[in-house]
Each structure stands twice: as C-alpha cells, then as structure tokens.
C-alpha cells in the first residue's frame, strides 16, 4: 500500500495550496513593496520627463554626466544616456541598485527561513505539503510580484513617453535583477539558520555586486560582467538593446532557486549548513547588565551598517582625484551635481555625506525596530519581569543605539577623510569632512525620534517609520535633481542641514532639528512608560 502515489489522488501535495498560503500570510508585505516601488519609479520617471522635456536639455545632462567616472561609480555607466530613458536610468541608478535586489531578498527571506525559524513551517509541513514546496512557492510568489512591479514600471515609462521597446527592456532588466537576488536569498535560506543571516549574507552579496560594478564601470574592465548589477546595465535598454543579456540573470536566478528547492527536499527541517555550536553556559558580568545586554543585541547590526558606511566612503574617497580631473575638464558636470564652481571637492564631499546620512538613519531605525521585535517575541516581558524598570531598559538601549550612530558617522567620515587625503594628496578637506558628518546628526536623530515615538505610542505601526525613511531618502537623493517643490524638499530632515560643506549648516536649522528630535524622543519615552507591553 502506498498512499498518495496515484496521480489522481486529491490528497496529492499541490503547489498552489502552498503558494496560496504564502500569498495569504505575506500579502501585505508584497503589496506594500510592489506599490511603493512602482510608485517611486514611475514618480521619478514623471519628474525626469517634466524636467528634461527638450532634446537640448537631455543633451546637456548627458554631456555633464558622462564626463566623470565618479558618477558612473554611483549610478552606473548608462549607455544611450542622451535620451529620456537614459536620463531616467541614470537618475534612478543608485536607488534601483538597492531597491530591486531588496525586493527579491525581502520577499524570499520573509517566506522561507523566517517561517522555518519561527516553527510555522513545521506545522505546514505536517500537512500535505512536500518539503520542497515552501521554497518553490516562495520563489513563485516572489517572481509574480517582481513581474507585476516590472509590468507597472514599463507601463509608467511608456506613458511618460519612453519608447516601448526600451521601456520593456529596462523594466525587464530591473525585474531580472530582483529575480537574481530572490534566487540568491532562497539558496541562502537553505544554508543559514536565521532569517537575519539571510539578510546579512544577501546584503554582503549585494555590496560586493555594487563594488564590482562600480570598479568595472570606472576602469572600463570586464569586472562589470561579474555583477548582477552589471548585467542590468549591459542590457543597454536605451542604447544597443542587448536582449540576450537578460538570459544571464534568468539563468543565474533559476540555478540558485533550483538549488534551493533541491536542497529543501533533501535536508532536515530546521537544519543549516552554518550553525552556531554550543555557547558559554553563563553570561559574563557585562552582558548581564542592561547596557552590556543592549550592546550585545545591537552589535551585529551596528557592525553591518558601519561596514556599509565604510564601503561607501572608502570608494568615494578613492575616486576624489578622478572626479576633480573630470570637473576641471567639464564645468557642466558641476552644474549637474549642484556643485558651486570653484569648490568642486566640497560638492563631492557634500554628496557623499548625504549618502552616509541615509545609511546612518537606516541604522537607527533598524536598531529601534529591534526593540519592537524584542517586545513582539515576548523577550521584553522576560527582561522587565525582574528589577529592571521600563525606562532604564529603554534608556540603556537608547544610549547604546546613540553610541552606535556616533560610531558609524564618525568612523565612516574618518575613512572618507583619510581616503580623500590619500587620493588628492593633501589633508585640506579633513576638517570640513568631519564637520559635515556631525552636522547630519540632528537630522538622523529626528528619524530616530520618529521611530521611538511610534515604538512608544503605536508599536504595531512601526512599519510606518520605514515608509517615512523611504520617502525621506527618495526626496533627499532625487528631490533636488528632479526640481521637486520646495515644500516637498523640506519634508526630508536632511534638507535642513544645508548640504555642508558646499553649503553652510545653519546653527538655527540644526538647533530646530535637535529640538524636534528631543521632543519626539521624549514623547517616545513617556508613551512607552504608560502603555501596555505585549
């Protein structure tokens, strides 16, 4: 007797049952990602189309951007940039390099290892779902979401007047980029024990891909072809239109996704290739105290974001010299980057510090989000059951997070100062670099305050902090280039810093930002003190 062997057996495991479960349990995440990404991309396209509405304007932009390798390092080398599509691809280059891979990574990590780690997968697999089907269903649903994003984006581009074939190829290239990272994350989910590990390793892979693409584009070598970000670029949707390049991400994603499904069918539930061995039987004295415990919780994330900051600043610092050379040969580039004539290096530093501020703000929000996770998973109640008071618990975490923020800002700024000095051959810029880094702290604290206030008052709405972060990042990075209205630009805290050292950080604005941050932080503490914990 062998049950379930017949093909007509209604009890046969069905993939669509599992896909239905993935959709049902993840649909909010999926819808938010797809809607936000599509809206952001179409919004950018619309703004670019409004701004560069004559061939002459597009030509000036193209002239400016193509003359410096620093911009190619950040946004990628865009073929056929002398067209509306090309300008959109360039403007969106930096954000797209992270957002599309993150789409793939998030959708997969959330529906594979996180489900396994939580124990929910055990219950699912206790039903008529085969071991390989959760991974396969997660990939299927993620692919569908990626397709939907790409289709929406292509439609938006066409509506803005981008030629149909270019719009389709560009959207397909971005979708394929997300697909590669979905496959990569699915494979990692079979190998590492925690969902957090899937994110960490995927992001390390993404950083490596970004650096490879950046070096390849600035040096003009074949390194670009080793990076999935390079593949997206080499499809050249507004240049030569190499459709066949789409096969590279498609095959890479299928191979990694296939390997993930293959492994899932053959390994023990709950197992991992990389897993921690036994640990110490007792906690050290330091870790038992609230500060030491908080430092232990936030340590890995701090190290991760610090690595990101150092990677960015080291790369930019090393490109300072080539950038100066390009500026000397082309004043239009300065105008394109909003850099005042005569002080090109200041403009370069200002742009880098803005990116660093985005990284630093991301860190604080994630760290405060970790407090919410502690609470939601019930560990906060355990911590507070003893003599530790709520406010001391929160204050200890706040102090550790603030120290982490300072470490990331000062450490990365120092790296920028050192690499810039090495690249241009003098230390004239060092003071300005450090001062600029510190000037962004109040703006970063405003976002931290928002996160803390939501955590204190409406903990279940914490995801809104990420929405605010995404909007602020979008405005800060793309707003000035897209000539957004003044009041829109003012919504981003970083706008009020005044773009030092190319502009001057006004003491009044910084004080105002600090006050807003202080009020939000205090509101967070007060509300947390009063509310129930869950």
């Amino acid at each position: 007797m062998s049950a379930g062997a017949g093909t007509a057996d209604p009890r046969r495991p069905r993939l669509n049952t599992m896909a239905g479960i993935v959709w049902r349990t993840q649909r909010r995440t999926i819808l938010v990602w797809v809607a936000a990404l599509a809206a952001g991309m179409i919004g950018t396209a619309a703004a670019v189309a409004g701004l560069y509405d004559t061939p002459a304007e597009i030509h000036t932009y193209a002239e400016a951007v193509t003359s410096g390798s620093a911009l190619a390092a950040i946004n990628g080398a865009v073929e056929g940039i002398d067209s509306l599509g090309g300008v959109i691809q360039d403007e969106f280059g930096f954000l797209a390099s992270f957002l599309l891979p993150l789409l793939g990574i998030t959708l997969i990590a959330g529906s594979t290892r996180r489900e396994e780690e939580s124990g929910r997968l055990e219950t699912i697999l206790g039903g008529r779902i085969a071991r390989h089907q959760p991974a396969l269903a997660a990939l299927t649903v993620a692919t569908a979401a990626i397709l939907a994003t790409a289709v929406l984006f292509a439609a938006g581009l066409v509506l803005e007047g981008v030629p149909v074939s270019g719009a389709i190829l560009y959207s397909a290239a971005l979708g394929a980029l997300a697909f590669v990272f979905a496959g990569f994350a699915a494979l990692l989910a079979q190998l590492v024990l925690h969902a957090r590990g899937v994110y960490t390793w995927s992001l390390i892979g993404l950083a490596a891909a970004y650096v490879l693409r950046g070096i390849g584009d600035t040096t003009g070598t074949g390194l670009v072809w080793l990076s999935p970000l390079g593949w997206a670029e080499k499809t050249a949707p507004f240049g030569d239109q190499r459709w066949w390049v789409l096969a590279l991400p498609a095959v890479a994603g299928l191979v990694m996704g296939g390997a993930a499904v293959w492994l899932a069918a053959r390994r023990d539930l709950g197992s991992a290739l990389l897993r921690g061995g036994a640990g110490p039987a007792g906690a050290t004295r330091v870790r038992r105290g609230p500060i030491g415990f908080a430092a232990w919780i936030h340590g890995p994330a701090t190290a991760g974001w610090l690595s990101g900051g150092i990677l960015l600043t080291a790369m930019m610092g090393a490109l300072a010299r080539p950038f100066l050379d390009a500026m000397a040969g082309n004043p239009a580039l300065g105008r394109a980057m909003g850099v005042a004539a005569g002080r090109p290096l200041d403009g370069f530093v200002a742009a880098t510090q803005l990116y660093l501020a985005v990284i630093a703000a991301g860190y604080v929000i994630q760290a405060i989000g970790a407090l919410r996770t502690e609470e939601a998973d019930g560990r906060l109640a355990t911590r507070l059951a003893g003599t530790l008071s709520r406010n001391r618990w929160l204050a200890a975490h706040g102090a550790v997070i603030a120290a982490g923020l300072l470490l990331i800002v000062v450490g990365s700024s120092l790296v920028l100062a050192l690499t810039t000095a090495w690249s241009v051959g003098n230390t004239d810029e060092t003071g300005a670099i450090m001062a600029a880094g510190l000037a962004y702290l109040p703006a970063e604290l405003v976002l931290a305050g928002l996160a803390l206030a939501l955590f204190g008052r409406w903990p279940r709405a914490f995801a809104l902090t990420w929405a605010a972060y995404a909007a602020a990042t979008f405005i800060a990075l793309l707003g000035p280039g897209l000539d957004l209205a003044r009041w829109v630009l003012d919504l981003a805290p970083t706008t009020h810093v005044g773009s030092p050292p190319v502009g001057t950080a006004q003491a009044g604005s910084l004080t105002a930002l600090s006050l807003v941050a202080a009020v939000l932080i205090m509101a967070g503490f007060t509300a947390f003190h009063r509310r129930d914990t869950s």
Binding site: M1, S2, A3, G4, A5, D9, R11, R12, P13, T17, G20, I21, R24, T25, R28, S118, G119, R120, E122, T123, I124, L125, G126, G127, R128, I129, A130, R131, Q133, D268, L269, G270, S271, A376, S534
Partner: protein, 316 residues
Amino acid sequence: MSRSVPVIHVRDLRKTFGKVRALDGLDLSVRPGEVHGFLGPNGSGKSTTIRILLGLIRATAGRVELFGADPWREAAGLHGRLAYVAGDVALWPGLTGGQCLDVLGATHGGVDRRRRDDLIARFDLDPAKRIRDYSKGNRQKVALVAALAAEAELLILDEPTSGLDPLMEQAFQQCVRERREDGVTVLLSSHILGEVEALADRVSIIRRGRAVTTGSLAELRRHTRTSVHAVTIAEPEGLAGAPGVADCVCERADGRVDARFTIDAEHLDAAIGRLHAARIHTLTVTPPSLDALFLHAYGETLDARETGETLAEATR
C-alpha cells in the same frame, strides 16, 4: 488496510545531530484505532521521533513506516491522512484565529466544517481575534481545533496540553475520546503522566532515545504494586508474612486494626481473603498510578536530574 498492520512501525531508529545522539535504537509500534501514549521526560527524543515519523527530518539509521510507507519519501502524500500538532505551536501573528484555521485546513486532507465550528465553541475560541492577541493556551487551542477538525485517520499530538488550563484539558480529553470512537488512531506524546493515563490504551516509555518499556496500562501495571488500606475488626492473621505482601504496617486504633500494605497483582486475592477472615470494616484498594509505573520503568538508574523532573511532574 488490514487491522493487523501497524499504523506506525519503528525499529531500531537512530538519529544523531552532530555529536548529539537524540535517538539510540528506538522501537515503537502503534496499532490502528488505539490511543498510544508516548511518554518520556524533556529531551528524551519524543519530538525527534515524531519529526522523523512525519518525514520532516531524516533518520540516521533504522526502519520507519507510517501507514506501511516510508515517510521521508512519501511525506506529503501520507500527510493527507493525518493531522499534526507541533510541540511548540507557532502561528502567524497578523492573522486571526479563523484565518489560521483556514490556512491550516488547506494543508489537511479535508476539514469537517461542522466539527470545526463545534470545536471552536467547545474550546471557547474567538476566531475573529488576531493570533498576536491570543494567550499561549489559546494559540495551542487553534492548532488543536485545526487538527481535531481534519478528516484524518491518524492524529499526532506532541505535548498538546502544555498551555491549557484544567478545564480545557478536560475538553481536550473528551474530544480525543470522540475521535477514537470514530476509529481514529492517536499518538500522544507527553511528559505529564496524568494526561496519558486518562487517555491511552497503550503506552511506550522513552528515555534517552530508547524505548524503556511498552504495553497496555494493565500489562505495565502487572509489574507494579497495588496499595491496600483496610480497617478490620480483628487482627488479620499472618498478613505480614503472606506471599507478595510488603511494607505491611498494622496499628490498633479505636478498638479496630488499621492495616496498610502493598501487594503484587497475582497475590491480591489471597491477601483480601485474610482481611475478610478478620472482618472488614472499610477497604481501599489503589491500583498503581502511571507515576509509580514510570519510576518503576526507570528503576534505580534514575540520575538526580531526571528524578527531580519526574517527581515534579508526578506531583502535578
């Protein structure tokens, strides 16, 4: 399937996790239609056995058959015929209890809607509430309702009542008995002796990855002693030295004789005869509890930690 083929058949099962030997030659056999208690202290290998039976993890060595088939190779097909409640019930915090029941129901071979609604009422569940607002016990109840409502031939329940209050535990026991009336086979793992005692037809006791003993409660009790407490008018003659009698204490009180002793099952009749001869006033005979059985099975080899655990559970 003929009645003689066991629903679960495990021989010499071994499983190692790196250096940890979780199962070390386990034997287990569950017959169709019985409630089989799977009893052992924490860490003895119950959940590991169940995960292997479900094909969630792969046996290192040994033979495992579920409905006569290999659960690793045919896991999903076999699961259409059973329902499982995991030891640590984890559900989706953002879904309501009712939505979770639907999601779990989709993974089962079929769901009896009427029974489901009936179970929701009996377990006093609010299906419109979100999982994150449920207590641990209520989350457990969602998983139990999903499993008990499934059209299954076999229920595999891993420590199912760990979060339930006594009232709900009663409801649970009643539901399991009803499922057994319907012909469903049940494998019930527990480290709580009372729970298994109330439900199980047969019991397997596992310790450190091996089955220590297995059999019906009656069979297992044969190896243990019954306690007798009698008050008689006259002094029972020769009781202390009678065959099978131990721990005998006789005291005079209020002109009567208060006798307490333990006795093995086969000599009970003769001992009661002696009490009868001394004219019985009151008589209490207590069969050995599973607690005693558990201690017996563990014999003198109990180490201090396990003794502590077992006794702590026994006094629950």
